[in-house]
Symmetry: C2
Subunit: 145 residues, 2 copies
DNA sequence: CTCCAGATGCGAATGCACTATCATCTGCAT
DNA sequence: ATGCAGATGATAGTGCATTCGCATCTGGAG
């Protein structure tokens, strides 16, 4: 149960190349050149298996469906561009003082830091062509949970 | 278009009393004592209007549907309890160094910090009765530091 | 007290991310 | 080169949060 199909190879290559967390739809697009017949269902199936095997890891941002990145990267945070909806890695180290002010009895197991703004590309040009803004119109589900 | 119905009063009271972000379902429960016939659709409708009027504000956490809290609170972060799924305010001030390591050209408009762990209540007792764990089975959210 | 614009309750409907089904295809062990 | 377990593609189906449609109800101006 681990064949090297062109689809799986393309998916892994997309994630390795992107250097940033990709959504299933982005992975689908990025994989099409190498695996033209690839299907969204296959992307989901493959991501699930890669995640279970520990090769990749889900990246969840508020109000967004899961993206995926290679596991084993050094600890980092994420930057979400308002304009093109892409998510980038922020290599900065963990800020201290995160848990200041926490009432006693609360135990922190993990933390998430997300920066939001405009990326370098979008800061220059008003809109960034070639990258589809995903249609997340509704202000509500921002789930994320 | 702004009547003081028992439902709206109950919803506002719930949010004012809770001192923490509430999900629509939590608001429904919290409002029932004051407005026994209240309905989820009404909760959503009312939240939408309160948010538009600027009285409340959505709080979005990774992998979670929107919660709501009073707008105009001083800046704070949030703590999500793994065990009871409640979200608490963390009054701590903003850690510095958040934007260290950001590539040039990136402009930060906002940031989100979420702490995850177990709250004081859940740290004492294994499970907290009276608070339903919402059934979010999805394996997506588990990120490593 | 009356009346009606606006609010509510209820159930059905929508939108979206994701999964199941199943017939067909294909790595790869033999 | 062959056969088949496992993978894929196409599409229908799920589950969940949120919204719609509409008949009924009600706050509050008059």
């Amino acid at each position: 149960m681990d064949r090297h199909t062109s689809q799986r190879i393309a998916i892994e290559a997309s994630l390795r190349t992107a250097q940033r967390p990709l959504s299933p739809a982005e992975i689908l697009d990025a994989s099409k050149p190498d695996a033209p017949t690839i299907n969204l269902a296959t992307v989901y199936r493959t991501l699930k298996r890669l995640a279970e095997s520990g090769l990749i890891r889900p990246v969840d941002l508020p109000g967004e469906p899961s993206r995926y990145e290679l596991a084993g990267l050094p600890h980092h945070h994420h930057f979400k561009c308002d304009s093109c909806d892409r998510v980038f890695d922020v290599p900065g180290k963990c800020p201290s003082g995160l848990t200041d002010g926490l009432p006693s009895g609360f135990r922190v197991r993990d933390h998430e830091v997300v920066l939001v703004g405009t990326c370098a590309d979008c800061g220059h040009a008003p809109t960034r062509p070639g990258r589809s803004r995903r249609p997340r119109a509704s202000p509500s589900h921002n789930r994320g949970t």
